[in-house]
Subunit: 402 residues, 2 copies
Amino acid sequence: VIVEVIAVGTELLLGQIINSNAAVIGARLADEGFDAHYQVTVGDNLDRLAGAIRTAVDRADAVILSGGIGPTQDDLTREALCAVADRAMARDEAHASAIRERLTRIRGFVADSTLRMADYPEGSTPLPNRNGVALGIAMTHEDVPIFAVPGVPSEMTVMLDEQVLPRLRAASGEPAILRSRVLRTWGYGESQVADELDDLYASSNPTIAFLVDGSEVRVRISAKAEHADAADKMIAGVEQEVRRRLGPIVFGSDDDTVEVVLIRELASRGWRLAAVEAATLGTVASSLAATSGATDVFAGGLTVRSAGDEVNRAALDDRARQLLVQGETTLAAEVVVAVSEGRSDDPEPGSTQSLVVAVRTPEGTRASTVSLLGDGARVREYARGAVLHLARLAVTGVWWDD
Amino acid sequence: VIVEVIAVGTELLLGQIINSNAAVIGARLADEGFDAHYQVTVGDNLDRLAGAIRTAVDRADAVILSGGIGPTQDDLTREALCAVADRAMARDEAHASAIRERLTRIRGFVADSTLRMADYPEGSTPLPNRNGVALGIAMTHEDVPIFAVPGVPSEMTVMLDEQVLPRLRAASGEPAILRSRVLRTWGYGESQVADELDDLYASSNPTIAFLVDGSEVRVRISAKAEHADAADKMIAGVEQEVRRRLGPIVFGSDDDTVEVVLIRELASRGWRLAAVEAATLGTVASSLAATSGATDVFAGGLTVRSAGDEVNRAALDDRARQLLVQGETTLAAEVVVAVSEGRSDDPEPGSTQSLVVAVRTPEGTRASTVSLLGDGARVREYARGAVLHLARLAVTGVWWDD
């Protein structure tokens, strides 16, 4: 099944916004096993938009349009679909009333053009917009399913997942439900994780896939079935096997970021954490402080200047322990994590940077040297992950080898 | 002049990378006054790529292809151009020798396929690649100029600016050189800046444009001329007038970020700065510390928990002053900036947040309340800018009204 994605909006052509919707939709389609030959971006112009739809209907098995269904006169996706399929425009009167009522309450008036967000080509199916106002559209023209979704990413994603993809699956004879679960790991590289799960990779339903994000490797398990319960049961079987093989490197699932897990572990022990950061410039503290639940467990952070050339390598471990003491005297906390920047072996970009991470908990103090490849913002991001994960391991009593 | 951009690469269709090149090229073309009707993304498939080129040649006045000129068998842009224009493949032997020599030195061998990066359609002009290996291509087919540039953004941007856009301007009868200068302002909204410069906006050469980034408004002055000197002279005249009208809200030009300017002002006075942050969670300290030159002037940062509901509004100013004292006692610095989170008037997303920013310099202490619209990461980013700018004003002795 070949699906063509058309992104609608002059602001995309002008480069005022980056077409991230095309990537999101493309990735979702690839996950489901649909093919893509072309993606097209077209401006807010009725003739060219209708032309792009006609071309896509001719050469693809399904078409997804993103954008052009808002309230302004520039939003022409509805009109283009009517032109291509020779249909009149219909209005969802209940939805139009809801828009009128809500906006009159908030702003005191409602412009007629706003009610266009309740319009759809006659004979098509209006799609509910859970995160916004404009209705989406599902229709069939010359046996090709066509969908129109909003350009706003938060509205697009939900409508794609809940309305469009199930319909596409049904139209192509696939089971109606696709469910996924992500297991998050830290400590192994991608190839090491893949090796452990090699034989599971051959399965076509459920499928497993590996995703690398910074220093984390994620294992996504996806299952297709007629009902959510059946899909979940299929996933649970594979999850159990993956967890058995990977053991303690699995630290969470789905939305369990390392910050969420660390905060949960701190809270369950009634401990508070302070961070003293040279190499990571405060990013450990800020990512923790910005996470829900931080208020009770985040004691504070201290960003100090990079040790730079002032410290020789032998002194690095001492430096991290000095930072620990500085954190303890400044910020009252049961857990203090300190990270000092090592000197790189080679000042060239792309060389290895070493960091010393020290963690003190009520159960002891431990310091480790971590080597990271890269430079600047990239190495700081890897370092941030490493510091948070080492803090998590220390808090949960899993001490690592130095 | 209508220019069609074709992005080449299956990884784009699969959503493995976001098509930021299309936005960059689209924005550059718009800056130059060129029009865009369609952008197309096509995978690594010879027939479909050739088809996309033929379609673009039929409906546009010029075509830019991005991607597909690397060394692998998947890189098919050169072959597609030969197929469309019925040309044989030629090789730049000098470039091929340079590739062979360099790779043999580094890796000990060179694969034959690697030398494809020295190939180009017979009769076309190979374009030098200042940040990479693969040659770009400039050719004309059916009177339509066609350009192929790399998909790697750093290689693409330089080749676009130095090779493609001058040729496009020449082909469309425009002066060969376009030069730009950006003046950075903080303190006025976009409409206020635009009002001050209203009559200058009418000029077609030099042009001025307004760009908003967070709380900064940037004024870009661009001039076209036959030579760089002439363009620079045209820009200088407008710059002088813009600076005269906007006065002290202009804080820098081109790459002068607020961090760069603040560090420069601190260094010239021999002062060091410490930041104590509740609302901005350490982002003021980390953006300063990550800026070149920070080692001598950045004393450190303290990230503290958000005041949250513990403090009532009347106490906010006191809270910021307490943070100042905390910074002074923890970190030795001539300048301390503190930012405490106010309570929002309304807990709804999108409501106004108030912050109190206090700055102490050797010349005195001042605190201000800043109101910002938004929530979460967005409001923290605005707040970070406001804190850095208020620190800059305090350091340079420009005290602001409370």
